[in-house]
Structure formats: C-alpha cells, structure tokens
C-alpha cells in the first residue's frame, strides 16, 4: 500500500508485497479504494489541488523567495515536487527555502560536496530515494570526489565517522551522549571541528525531518518515467476489521466531535485541576501508548537490498520506542532545562552564525502558521491542536513539557492520526496512502500538509535538542 509511487524505496515495496500477499488470498475482491496519483507532485494529493494553489493570485512571491525559487529551478528547469507541495503553504515555504539555501549553498564551515553527501547519508537512513537522487545529482554537479557515490565505504574517513551519529540521530536521538561528540572531535587526522559538527548536525536533522515530510505527503519522485507497476495488493493490506473502523465513523461527526472536544478542553482547563501525579501519569501514558500505536506488524528486523543501501551502514538499526516495556528507560528530557529558544539557539548560532535565526524563523513559522479554520469551519483557534501535534512528537522522543497536560493529546488526536504521526516521524518509509487517508476525512489536503509540516519541524527540533545538548555537555 505504500503507494509509494516512490516504490523506489523498493525495499518497502518489497516488504509490503510480501506482507500483503497473504492478505490477497482472503480478500481478493477489489475494493473501491482510491488509486494513487501516479502523476503530479504527490501520490496522496490530486494534482489539480496543488496547481490551483500555485496559480492563486494571493500567492504573491516576494522577490527574495523568487530568487530562491529560481535557484532551485535551475537544475531541472522546473520546481521539484517537494517545493510544489510545500507551496500549499507559501509562508512556510519561504522560511524553509531560505534555511535550506543557507545550509547547502551559503558560507559555512563544511565544503559544498560534504553537505550534499551528508544529505545523501541522512536521506538514505530512511530509504528516501527522492532526496538521495536529488543530492546525488547535486554532488555530480560539484564534480569532486565522485567515487564517494559508489557507497559509504568509498567516502573518506571523516564522513564515515559521522555515520554513527547519523544512525542514532535518525532513529534514537536520545541515545546521543557527549562521548559520541567527543569521539568525533578528538584530535586526529579526521577529526571534526566544533563548527563543522554543528553544521553537520543541522544538516542531518534537517534531512531526516524532510524525509518525514516527503513520505508523509507522498511526494512522487521527479523522474519523468512514470511508475507503471503498482502493487495492487497494497490496497488490501489491512485486515478487514481495521478497515471497517476506519470507514465506519461518519465524517461529519468526526469534525464535530473534534471541535466539541476542543471546546470542552478549553472550558475544563479553567475548572478542573489535575494533580501533579496525574500529569506525570498522563505523560507516561502517552509515552507508553505510543508503543502500542504500531503502524503495522512490520518485521522490524527486515532488511532488503535497495538502491540506497550503499549509503547505509548498519541498516538494522532502526527506531525503537523511547519507553520500552520492562527496560531501564533513559531519563525523560525536560524541555524547560534545555529549550530551543534559550539554549539551542544560542549554541547553534554561536558555532554556525546566522543559522540560528533562520531555524528560529522556520520553527516559529511552522508553529504559528494558522488560517483560523478547520475543514469547513472558519474562525477556529487551532493553537491547541497544533500544540498537541507538536508535543506528541516530542513525547515520542521522550521530551516532556512541564507545563503541558498530556491528557489533551489523548483527547484531540484520534488513534488513526496517532498511527500516522508515529509512522511518519519514526519510520517514514512505511507511510501509506491508507494511513494518510484514514484520519480527518473532511479536512483539506492543505491542512494535512500543514500537519506534516508540524511533524517535520517537531522531529527536527527534537533531534537538534538531543544533539545540541550532547554538544553542550561536551563543552562544559
């Protein structure tokens, strides 16, 4: 079902096929499920919707963004699909492009080809062929050290050293310790400087998060060759019962009830006072529950050869839940003790000037972006919902906000949405059209893209916080 028209990530296709084959036996009748969109920027979103958004008059590009867009266009002569989809939120797109442009093209501690190679490494962790291809092309254009493209073991020692950090950051960022940082920085021929490392970390986090967005929005690869073969069985990969629960709820009631719950929460907040213990319990509950939210019964250990595997070492290392049952859990990360605004920003901006401002703007834009409407309703304050999404992602990474009542997450985010969030942030390569469709039936596509933006930024911030905290610990 990974509609992955990006079936590129052939690994996932393969896996899915293997999985659903058995489903096909008992469910052969073809269901009237939506076909994936093979053309257009996204396989989840009809092309017209995106084209329409771009042609709107209101989408007035300011000159600076226009310049960036032109810069982007140059390799392919047109906008890539990612930009097109993100263009549904022009305001954000601007912040995003500026940040990415700065990271990849402007003055920075790392040489240009390193940057693209790090991007390749980061994207390859999640088998994102889209990004790998894009940056392989960029790498070619720079035209040095081309033999690195043969695979990670051909790259120089310095970049290979980074692989460990890449791996941990991508899947279990809470495991990063100052020893990792120390290992990279210790003097030697292939050591990293602090500034270079910060640049690399920002790049890694950026591209890990971007992969989430790409899979979450079902971005089609840019290659002109249409992907002709679809795994038809993917449409039936869910068990019947689950299918029914997905479709049973009438769409109207869904929106209504969500609005109702938001209203209630707002009122309750004034009255009921949850005790300390309760709050802690709620957080723990969400944390635990996120374990149960499993996107599917994928075999965690399954590794399949794929086109990107040459950039991956230790592919078996994947996401593991922050809080595993019956194990000694790492301590919860207290957001108040190490926050982006106070600590992360200061550190990153000190070591890699100006990037802090750009990231800050990007985070702010993503978090504050609102059109004051939900589905068909207008004039809704969505801040509560946005915060719930953001904090839920952080919760899965073990970051806790003292001042947040995690009961809200439970109230606002339905199970299907949680499945989607978990998949998109933790193993994005497994995202499917079905998951995308299964939540918030009435909502517009642009709103779902908005959700993806939030997930992406939350993930990026979480990774950055863990990495930067380790660097801070190293420095003191």
């Amino acid at each position: 079902m990974s509609v992955s028209a990006d079936a590129h990530a052939s690994s996932s296709t393969y896996r899915i096929c293997s999985l659903c084959q058995k489903m096909i036996f008992d469910k052969e009748t073809s269901r009237s499920m939506p076909r994936p969109y093979s053309t257009g920027p996204s396989s989840f979103i009809p092309e017209e919707e995106i084209v329409e958004a771009w042609s709107l008059e209101t989408w007035a590009v300011d000159p600076q963004t226009e310049l960036l867009l032109a810069e982007l266009c140059s390799p392919a002569g047109r906008l890539d699909h990612l930009t097109q989809v993100m263009g549904l939120h022009p305001h954000y797109l601007q912040a995003f492009l500026r940040c990415q442009f700065y990271l990849l093209r402007r003055d920075g501690p790392l040489p240009l080809h390193y940057r693209h190679y790090i991007a390749i490494m980061a994207a390859a962790r999640h088998q994102c062929w889209f990004l790998v291809l894009l940056h392989v092309q960029e790498f070619y254009r720079i035209g040095v050290c081309l033999e690195w493209l043969k695979g990670l073991q051909y790259a120089n020692e310095k970049l290979r050293n980074l692989n460990d950090l890449n791996k941990i950051l991508a899947h279990r960022p809470w495991l990063i310790t100052k020893e990792h940082i120390e290992g990279l920085l210790k003097t030697g021929e292939n050591s990293w400087s602090l500034a270079e490392l910060v640049h690399a970390v920002v790049l890694l986090a950026h591209f890990h998060a971007l992969v989430s967005f790409i899979f979450g929005s079902g971005i089609n690869p840019d290659s002109q060759a249409p992907v002709s073969t679809y795994c038809t069985c993917e449409l039936t990969s869910r068990s019947q019962s689950e299918e029914d629960t997905l479709l049973s709820k009438s769409p109207e009631s869904e929106l209504e009830s969500l609005l109702e719950r938001m209203r209630k929460l707002r009122e309750e907040r004034e009255e009921e006072e949850a005790t300390e213990e309760e709050m802690v319990i709620r957080f723990e509950k969400e944390k635990k529950e996120s374990l149960l939210v499993r996107s599917a019964d994928f075999d965690d250990q399954m590794i399949s050869p794929s086109r990107v595997s040459r950039f991956v070492e230790d592919a078996a290392f994947g996401y593991q839940d922050f809080a595993r049952r019956g194990e000694d859990n790492p301590p919860t990360f207290r957001a108040q003790d190490y926050s982006w605004e106070d600590h992360g920003f200061s550190l990153v901006n000190r070591l890699y000037s100006d990037i802090g401002l750009l990231l800050d703007e990007k985070f702010r834009t993503a978090c504050d972006l609102t059109y004051y409407n939900m589905a068909s309703r207008e004039g809704v304050d969505t801040s509560m919902l946005r915060r719930a999404l953001f904090n839920y992602v952080h919760c899965m990474y073990g970051i806790r906000y003292d001042d947040y009542d995690y009961g809200e997450v439970n109230q606002l985010l339905e199970r299907n949405l949680k499945v989607y969030i978990k998949t998109v942030t933790c193993y994005p390569e497994r995202t499917t059209r079905r998951m995308y469709d299964s939540y918030w039936h009435q909502f517009r596509h642009s709103e779902k893209v908005h959700v993806n933006l939030l997930l992406m930024e939350a993930r990026m911030q979480a990774e950055l916080l863990y990495a930067l905290r380790a660097i801070t610990q190293y420095m003191t």
Binding site: R334, E341, D342, H343, F345, L357, D403, T476
Partner: protein, 799 residues
Amino acid sequence: MEKMTRVSTVLGSASVGGKTMFCHLDAPANAISVCRDAAQVVVAGRNIFKIYALEEEGFTERLNLRVGRKPSLNFSCADVMWHQVDENLLATAATNGAVVTWNLGRPCRNKQEQLFTEHKRTVNKVCFHPTEVHMLLSGSQDGFMKCFDLRKKESVSTFSGQSESVRDVQFSMKDYFTFAASFENGNVQLWDIRRPDRYERMFTAHTGPVFCCDWHPDDRGWLATGGRDKMVKVWDMSTNRAKEVYCVQTIASVARVKWRPERKHHLATCSMMVDHNIYVWDVRRPYIPFATFEEHKDVTTGIVWRHQHDPQVLLSGSKDSTLYQHAFKDASRPVDRANPEGLCFGLLGDLAFAAKESLVAGGAEAGRKPGYPGGDRRYPIFFFKKPDVTEQFAQVASVLSVFEALGGGGGGVCGIGGGVAGGVAAGSRMDWFVETARLYLLSGKPFAELCDHNAKVAKQLNRPQVSTTWTMLRIMFSEPAHLSSSANHNMGKLGTLPLLNSFNMKDLSSGLNERNKESRQDNIHSLETNINNNDVDNEETEGSEGQAEYVFGDAELDDDDLYSMEHDNQTEEPEYTLPQEAFPLRHEIMEQPSAPEPPEKAESPHVSGSEAESACLTPSESVSLISVSQLLFPPHLPPAFFGPVVKEMLAHYAEQGDVQMAVSVLIVLGERIRKEIDDLTQEHWYTSYIDLLQRFELWNVSNEVIKLSTCAAIGCLNQTSTTLHINCSNCKRPMNNRGWICDRCHQCASVCAVCHHVVRGLFVWCQGCGHGGHLEHMRSWLRDNTHCPTGCGHLCEYT
C-alpha cells in the same frame, strides 16, 4: 522606603563583609534570591529548594523547603524571589505554570502558603513589589502577566502581552505603579499596575528574546535589558521615547543582569549558554569587563548582590550545582591584562596606532620611524576621560596616531586617494597628478596590459587604492585566458613599459624624430608610390585640407593611436560585436594623417624603444595570440555584470576630486562602461580633466584625452580653429575646394618642389619662401642641402 533604607544601612554596616566561598548543592540551581538582611539566601531549581545561611566561614543549610512524599512539579522552580520587606515571605515560579508563595513563619514543615495555577504555561518570573507587602507579579510563557494580592485567592489583574511569551517582569524601584516586562520577540513594555487593559509604552529593545531587565536602583529612568543577541542595553525611560544610552556587547546571550549597588554605572551579567563567567561592566566602557568572576564550571543561572547597599559581595548559583559568594577583591580584572596598544591597517594603506599616552609621550620621536621615507603625516587624537572621584578605573588617556602612506619616488607628499588629494593636499604640490598624467597609458595596448601598467604607475606614486582599482578592473573585464596570456606578456615587458612610455612624452620628441627619420629614410622611396596611390583612393572621402599642418611630433602620437585603434578593435570585436559606427568620426580624422603609412611603420615608435621587443609586438603575432585565446575561453562572467559597480566607483572618484582617475578608467574601459554613464556626466568629467591638464601645461596628454574621448562635444575641441586657409601659389587667390588644384587658374597649386608632382598627403613648406613639397622628399633634400629645392635661393628653415 526611607525607613527601610536606613534600617538596612545599619544592618549592612554590621553584617556584610565576606570572602569568596562556595558550597555544593545537590542539584543544578535555576535562580537564587537573598533575604533583606543579607543573612540568608534561597536557592531554587528543578530538584532543589533550600535556604542557606551566609556565615563568616561558609554556607550552612538552614531549611529544605522541598518536603512531601512525592515531589510535585510545583517544586520545580524556574524563579524564586524573597520578599524585600517581609522576611518570612517567598515566592516561586514553577515550570508547570504554578505560582507558589511560602511563609517561613508557618509552624509545620510544609511552608507552602498559597498556590496560584492560573498560568497555562511555564512561569518565567515572579516579582514582589519593592514596598507593598501583598503585591506579587508573575510573567509566563503563555503571554500573560498576572498581579496577585496575597490576601486573596486569585489574581487581581491580568496583563496581556498579545500571546508573546514574557521572560521577565520587574517593578520599578521608584515609581510605585510602574513595572517593566520583557518579551520573547524583543519588545519591552511598560505597564501601569492600575491599568490592565493597555501598556503605557512599548519599544523594541533587542532582536530575539529579551531574557532579562533590571531597573536602576537609584536612577529613576534607567532600565537595563539583556537579550539573546548578546547585548546589554541601558535605556533612559525618563523621556518620552525610550532612548538607548549605553550598549554593552558581550560574547554570549545574556541571561541575567543586575545593577551593582552604590555604583552608578556598574552592572553584573551572566550568560545563558557557553560562557560560564560572571562579568561586571562599567557601561561607559563597553568593550572590556570591569571585573570577572570565573569560578563556575557550568553556566551561571542566578546572580544577586548580597546586600542592596554593599557593592563588594555577589552571590551566584549555577548549573554546576554550586552556590558561590564572590568577593570583589578576588575578582579578576581583565583591564589589567588587556593589551593597551592597538595597531591597524586601513583600507587605503594607512596605519593607525593607538597607545597609552604615557608610552607615546616617551617615544614620540621614536614613533616617527626613521626608516619611513619622506615626512609622515600624523593626526594625533587625544581621548581624555573626565576625572571622576568614584571612578575605579585607572586614569587612561590614549593617543591615536594615523600614519599615511607616503608619496615616494616622485618626491613630495602624495595624498591618498582622491579625497585627500582634493581636500588636504590641495595646497601641496600636485606632482603626483602630473606624473600620473604623463605616465598613464590610455591606449595602445591590450586592455589588460593597460590596466597593469597604470596600476604599476599608481603604485609607484604611492596611491595603493588607485593601483588596486586598476588591478581589479583588469580582473573584472578580462577573460581568464586573456589574463594568463597578458601575464606572460607582462613577464617580459613590464620592466620596459615605463621606458616605452616615456617615449611618448613630449620631452623626447626630438630624439624620437631622429630615430624615425632614420627608420623612415630606408623605406621612403619604396613607399612613395604607395602613398600616392592611397591618396588617389582617399580623394573622394577626404574633406579636410588640413593634412599639411601636421608636424612631426604630432604625427608620432597619431601613429600610436592608429596602432591602438587597430588593436582595440581586434580585441573587442568578437567579444562585444562592437559596432563599427562607434568610431566613425575618429576613424576619418585619425586615419588621415597616418593612413598612407603601412602598419610596420606605425609600430616603429614603440618598437624602437628596444629592439629585442619588436618581435613580440608585430601585429601578426599579437593578433594570433588574441584570437586563439578567444576561441578557447569565452568570457565567463558578463562584463555587464560589473557595470553598476564600476559606474559607482567612477562617480566616487570624481566626487572625491580625482577626475583624472575617472577619465582614465573611462577611456581605458571604452565601450565596456560607456553606456553605463550618461553623456552629460562624461562630458563634465572630460572637460574638468582637460582643463586641469592644460593648466599644468600637459598639452600632449590633454590632446590625447580629447582624441580618445567619445563625447561629440569633447571630440570637436581639437577641431576648433584648425582650419587653414591657403591661397593659390599662382593666382594668389584663396583656394576653396581642394588643397592642390586652384579653381580659378586651374593649375596645380601645391607641387612638390623636389619631384614636381602634386602633393596630396602631407605638404610641408618653408614659411620663408613658401616652397615645399612631400614631407619625405623635403626631408631627404634638406639632409644634403640648405637652400630651397626650387632654386629660389632661400635658405629654408624647418623646425
């Protein structure tokens, strides 16, 4: 307030006095606060909430407020404040949004008195009113500030910061009703506690969050703010608009700022990240901290002066789980270690040198470096601080000396750049101008070489900026291949360039003539026919009858020009598809005198400088060189790209009074830049420069400039009063049409006295007898004879 002050002063004298000491805490501290009598300090953090007594020999733990079986989040403190009037009263801000008050007077173990959970998000700051017992203010991440009356269960008023997170709130020390709030978006607001609906005043203090603010304890109007942008700013709020009076740049984002008691201009800061030290600044000396405390191993999170009237003792808590008392006498003073001398090179090659006055006074003469050629120009600038009794800095006076790069070889002082030349050096000698005018090459070489040459000239005259400008022009407008090839050229030629150049100048015309005579003599006969043929061909197009007027010296220059025109065209044509029409006027006028002569000859003045060079200067070779390079390397950056920059640069030079530079560049760049600048400006520059040149009697240069200019108005300057009216030598009547056949008597008027043919090219005649003929014929004749070739018996004289 009055009473309180008195009381505390009494207490102060009794108890305060301390040495540097510290104790370990069990957990990182987030904030500390000291009780009014300076005898106890409270430390609060996520996992700690304790009161320590300050004793002579060290800290002793008095009380642990963190009680209960299960630690509640209400104990997780972001901030703490001890009431300054009631010493039993404490308030904390919790990370979960609670505001808690504590009463130490409660008999039981749990001292918690009230709990306000009105904020939805982390409370960043709590602040008691300095004099009012029951008033407490809080500021939170959710964008609200709330004022609590401790006798009531709820807040009495709420102030909205428009959903921007509040980082700090501070009651004014002097204005009973005023408080300041700082925000995450960089704003600072002033509120009146009685008016919760709207702030009194708002201004943007920093870019990025303002983490802290502090009112000056004595001065009513001063507010210090510190932000993530690493600055500490002091604002004067007493006027209508908040005015920034001081600004201190630190090396990390500023987490806390506290005015130092009893010292009007001192404040202490600590940073949020990276930097662990505590600095005490004198805001009037923002570049170097007055004192530094370097004890902490991790970031300092809380600082407080132990007693509000004692400037000597500072307390601090840190993430490294220690609580320190710093005595001022143990502080390190960066000023003592700072290097009091500064040395810096300026953009224009100047050198500035600052040093303590005492040092300079002793070695003032030594400062004039003996090795420095010529006289140096010093602009001594003295900085004196007004003596201040309370001032603790050593009296400092420093001297700033500026040495200008000197005019060298040419002798005399050279101004640096046009600015100085136009202004300061106006009275001094203008040798550099003359030298430059004489030595500059404006044409006659490939573009890159011209630039190189001129750069070199400028450098020799100690005008580094001008020199650099030339070099940059070359880089901008040359193709890469061209560069390398011209570099090769230069290798061979640079040394001889000035020499070659000097041949162009008027003082050597005689020598040159000698040489030319020699070289031409050889060719003269073979060429004769050619010339005549050419004349016939040109007959139709030539309208002017002025050829005859040219004398040798001028002809030489024209030869150069011919060469240069050819050359320029060759280099430029493929690159610009330069319209030939760009030179219509020039072509006609300039070719006339020299057209009859074959190219080899045109080269000769240059080549003659050194015979060895002649090989590489032959046209055929240079042409092939250029064409090859162009085939191989197309221009990589469109020169048009630099247009605006160069235009600006020229305007700048002209503005500075160095119109010479503007015009020279204009000519050398030619078409590359001409279109960028409007004609009127160009004309203006040209006229100014020509005027200057003529004042310095640089006639040749001025003529060259006129000729090379493309402005119609300038070009016609050297055509004014150049008409020569001649009469027929037979009928003595004016000849109108052509110079050689009289309309009236239909006789050939100007017949060469040697060969008896009509002269259609250069006609030279003796002004005494009026006879003359072909230039070359006359020359050869006069080599052997002194009398007129016609036999009139006149002893002809030619100059």
